[in-house]
């Protein structure tokens, strides 16, 4: 029975959890997961134990900076889900108390999720925070609480700004908001290090500010439809990337021209069915903000880590990172193949076999070659970069063929 907003919220939460689980279960590649994820977790577990018992030199050198960067990113990257739906305009939006209750519950639930994520981040960074920065366990927990409060408050503010502003004004305002958020977190960290007695008071002030901001936000009924649209987008954030266009929905974009290849520029000079399909896959991948962001993060993280890791780990990263990049590109390729637009055409298997490695290789080669240059420069100076470039090309192409030959 759905007689109260609370019951409606619980029902939506349960439905959403079921939806996300089904999507992950149907789309997650368990074979690759077992082969890549479990060894990665085992290696990370061992490394984590070493961080506590015998921290490596690089952790001593860069651990504090890395922890600051990661917690700042955690504080700045939150989103709020209000669990509103478009169909709510038929009934729920006509009863302000129901709308507010639903949104309040969604905001509270988002805050709890943010707190759990902040706790996880602090737990992972605990060796650095406790051993190097000298925080006590209670202070580390307080740092997690500050991160969670900022993540929630900044998410509310950022989404509000998105409703109010457009174009460069929105970008400028969000940049300022991020700077403010980073500053507030840095101030909290400094208080913990220098005046820990006041850190609790600081957290209380942030919590009060968050409550005030949330209260005002919940009064803004004029954004209800936009909030519902964003909820829908956030609900599909992971699943749309995982299962592509399996769910029929019209493309929605406020942007008229794409930022990349603005005049539908060609990637391959020679036209063939395989080149056409591969080109579409590469463009769709690079223009999708979610996949592009993930691609850049993985490319820069791998290249950056290549510079600081010890030599044996560099080689492992070179191979592992190349295959991870190829796996990510493969997800984009699969999304292109699953698109309903392609159902308009006959699609022989030979075309898929020819186009897949080409699309994946175009995406994989630039970051793998960059990693190869850094690896060669560090391991075999001064000419190693040149030496490892062809090897990187072979590795990138091999990873592309390997990843596209895995069934489903």
């Amino acid at each position: 029975m759905l007689r109260t907003p609370h019951q409606l919220f619980v029902r939506r939460l349960r439905d959403d959890a079921r939806f996300q689980w089904r999507a992950w279960r149907s789309a997650f590649d368990w074979i690759v997961g077992v082969y890549l994820l479990l060894p990665a977790l085992a290696v990370f577990g061992y490394q984590y134990w070493l961080w506590w018992t015998a921290p490596p030199a690089w952790l001593e050198l860069y651990g504090g900076a890395a922890a600051a960067v990661l917690l700042t990113l955690a504080a700045l990257s939150g989103r709020i889900r209000f669990y509103l739906e478009e169909a709510d305009q038929l009934f729920v939006f006509t009863r302000p108390a129901w709308r507010r209750s639903l949104m309040r519950a969604g905001l509270a639930y988002s805050a709890v999720v943010h707190a759990a994520l902040a706790a996880l981040a602090v737990a992972i960074l605990a060796p650095v925070l406790v051993r190097q920065a000298g925080l006590s366990a209670a202070e580390a927990v307080l740092l997690g609480l500050l991160t969670a409060l900022l993540r929630t408050g900044l998410a509310v503010a950022a989404q509000w700004l998105e409703r109010l502003l457009r174009g460069w004004r929105r970008i400028a305002a969000q940049l300022l908001l991020h700077l403010l958020g980073a500053g507030l977190l840095a101030a909290g960290w400094l208080l913990l290090l220098l005046q820990p007695a006041y850190a609790g008071l600081y957290a209380a002030l942030l919590a009060a500010a968050l409550l005030g901001l949330a209260h005002r936000r919940l009064q803004r009924h004029v954004y209800a439809l936009q909030d519902a649209a964003e909820d829908h987008k956030l609900k599909l954030r992971f699943t749309s990337f995982l299962i592509g266009q399996a769910m029929p929905r019209p493309p929605v974009s406020s942007r008229r021209r794409p930022q990349l290849f603005r005049s539908s520029n060609r990637l391959f000079r020679r036209r063939s069915p395989a080149a056409g399909l591969a080109e579409a896959a590469v463009k769709a991948f690079l223009r999708n903000p979610a996949s592009f962001r993930l691609y850049l993060q993985l490319a820069f993280l791998s290249t950056g880590a290549m510079a600081v890791l010890p030599a044996p780990a560099k080689w492992m990263l070179w191979v592992g990172g190349s295959f991870m990049l190829a796996y990510l590109a493969r997800l984009g390729w699969k999304e292109t193949l699953a698109a309903r637009y392609l159902q308009l055409f006959p699609r022989p298997d030979a075309l898929v076999v020819a186009a897949g490695p080409r699309a994946v290789a175009v995406l994989v080669l630039p970051p793998v070659l960059l990693m190869s240059i850094v690896l060669g420069a560090f391991v075999f100076p001064p000419w190693g970069a040149l030496l490892l470039l062809p090897a990187g090309a072979v590795l990138g192409i091999a990873a592309s063929y390997a990843m596209t030959s895995i069934p489903n």
């Binding site: 266009q245 029929p248 019209p250 493309p251 929605v252 974009s253 406020s254 942007r255 008229r256 021209r257 794409p258 603005r262 005049s263 539908s264 060609r266 036209r271 063939s272 069915p273 080149a275 056409g276 399909l277 080109e279 579409a280 463009k283 769709a284 223009r287 999708n288 292109t336 698109a339 309903r340 637009y341 159902q343 308009l344 055409f345 006959p346 699609r347 075309l351």
Partner: protein
Amino acid sequence: MEKLQVELREAGYPDRSAVVSDVAFTVREGEWVGLIGPNGAGKSTTIKAILGLLGKREGTVVFSGPYSYIPEHPVLYEHLTLWEHLELAAAVWELEPEAFRADAERLLARFRLTEVRHHLPGSFSKGMQQKIMLLVAFLQKPDVYIVDEPFIGLDPRAVQDLIELLEEERQRGAGILMSTHVLDTAERLCDTFLLLDKGRLVAQGTMDELRLSSGLPGASLFDCFLKLT
């Protein structure tokens, strides 16, 4: 000459009872066939079964050559421009580049989309998105057009352009299978009709044959539809 021969004993979704049974018909050269029926009669399912898009299909479907399918709702890539959708179609169909460019420019102009060809379709109205589906279908010169509810979302001028283009293609010799609810337009355009109800063909033939089946001499397609379904 027969452009499409369909004999569906059963079709539907896997693990479910059949949605469509015992549907048999042909679309001949230069023939415009209307597939009509009430909501839920199985029109879209029949089309999807013909295209091989359903998990369960028993029977035979024979195309004499290439076909173009215009779906009821636009299906587009969110991150490809209008021109890139056309280029992808041309690449997969292996259209000759110069001919493709000339045809594409002509069709873009006809549907008044030339100015927005490098725009993402997500910024278009639903009607404009549907026009892209038409453009793609007309790019190749297929033997058969399979058109699912083509008039939904189109403005009157686009409807007129679509009818004219389909008429030109019919005169070229293409067969057309069109599912629609717009019965007065169907009566005006189609040579023969397939009347579907609850997944089965309840009548088929020319307008005169439908009148005979319904026992309503001189009746409109609308009246025959109401009588037979």
